[in-house]
Amino acid sequence: MRDPPEAAQLLALADASPAAEWHLVRRARDIAVREQGFGMTAYDAVAAELRLLYGPLDGARLLRRLAADLRAGRFDAPDPVRARLRHLLLALAAQKLRESNPDFLTGTGFA
């Protein structure tokens, strides 16, 4: 569920980057450290919730099913399921941001 490129790819690029790109290198290394620190717990929790809806699928298939259902308008009605899914998607995006750009969450209630 984590967005590519993952830490290993970023670190490989960072190691080969010129000195002038020090700020990008630092960002890549910071992301790698944060990814390692967080592990997969938050993503596993999102997947576990989606399995309640779709059954025992892997993360990529769960996201694909949800994306297709959203496109088809299956969750248009303002009901608790829609509210729960929105919260789940926000939690997923927030976790990605905690790894890639935690400052972005400042003042949003998700920091």
């Binding site: 967005d3 490129p5 996201l63 994306a67 496109r71 998607l89 926000l90 927030a94 400042t106």
Partner: protein, 332 residues
């Protein structure tokens, strides 16, 4: 092109001399200019028939994004806008002959100022600058779909919001990865599409980083490759997007000032009364648009194989867009 090597400089000098009818042109320095994630820039310094020469060269990257105007059309647009006295760098020449430096390019005259967002957002909030930028954007939106000179932009969209959504849907489907937050956003944007507004020339990437500032005043608008006919609120939403505040998230106008100042300048110069709901809609659309572009930029590394840390990191910005799409459509 190997920026700065003697052969490249000699060839460029030859192209400039032939295009301008000069007897002699010399380029003594050619230095890469930072910024521009899609295209590359170099500053050329030298002389032409005894007068000093100071130009910016703009050319494609190692791989292509697959979106926006090509360099020839962008140059034609710059020439038109310069003729209309808009604040753009003066276009000097376009060269489509790959034999010259290995790729098509265009040259514009260097304009005073810096486009670097870092010092702008690090400085104190500047509502004066935000208001001037609002006025500047209004002057761009004063161009309406009639000039034959801009025929390459195609016909104006009858329904800008729905046409943008169709375009982003097509591009996301081509990326071919499941993005439920994007689907959530697209569904919300489709169901809430506003009535079409009269189309104007939209810059398409009017944001901090794409204008020059000297002594606190904007001097020129850069990077016109995403220009197209569209809803004027599209540019306002893009400028105010949280994704383009460079860390100064509480300054809603591009990380440099208040939204009120920016909109005040825009409204005064355009004569339009802004509808906050429409601007909000287009701000959500901006998150979707940047999501699409970020994924396409990332794929220049992941799929096309360009070894660029900048492109790779851009892919990790997709989460900013998804978060914003969900947040901005919360009450819809």
């Amino acid at each position: 092109m190997n920026a700065g090597d003697g052969e490249t400089r000699r060839r460029l000098a030859g192209v400039i001399a032939r295009a301008t009818g000069a007897t002699a042109a010399t380029i003594v320095a050619m230095e890469p200019v930072a910024g521009g994630a899609v295209r590359r820039h170099s500053r050329l310094m030298g002389d032409i028939d005894g007068a000093s020469l100071d130009l910016v060269l703009r050319t494609g990257g190692e791989t292509a994004l697959g979106l926006g105007l090509d360099l020839a059309d962008e140059f034609t647009l710059l020439r038109f806008l310069h003729g209309e006295r808009l604040a753009v760098p003066e276009p000097i020449l376009y060269c489509g002959d790959p034999a010259a430096i290995g790729a098509p390019f265009h040259l514009t005259r260097t304009v005073a100022g810096s486009a670097d967002p870092t010092p702008l957002v690090a400085a104190a909030a500047d509502d004066g600058l935000a208001e001037r930028l609002g006025r500047m954007l209004a002057s761009i939106h004063g161009i309406v779909p009639s000039p034959a000179a801009l025929a390459f932009l195609g016909p104006p969209p009858a329904d800008p919001a729905r046409e943008r959504l169709a375009e982003f849907r097509r591009l996301l489907d081509a990326v071919d990865e499941a993005r439920p937050a994007a689907e959530w956003g697209m569904r919300a944007l489709l169901l809430r599409a506003p009535p079409p507004a009269s189309a104007v020339l939209c810059h398409g990437d009017f944001r901090t980083g794409n204008y020059l500032v000297a002594a606190g005043r904007p001097t020129a608008v850069l990077d016109w490759e995403f220009a197209q006919w569209g809803d004027p609120d599209e540019d306002l939403g893009w400028f105010c997007s949280r994704c383009w505040r460079f860390g100064a998230y509480d300054r809603e106008a591009g990380g440099i000032g208040t939204r009120a100042a920016f909109e005040r300048g825009y409204a005064a110069a355009s004569g339009r009364r802004l509808d906050p709901e429409r601007v909000h809609y287009w701000e959500a659309m901006a998150a979707l648009k940047w999501l699409v572009i970020a994924l396409l930029q990332r794929n220049r590394f992941l799929v096309q194989g360009e070894r660029s840390l900048d492109l790779a990191l851009t892919g990790r910005r997709a989460a900013e867009c998804e978060f914003e799409l969900l947040r901005l459509t919360e009450l819809w």
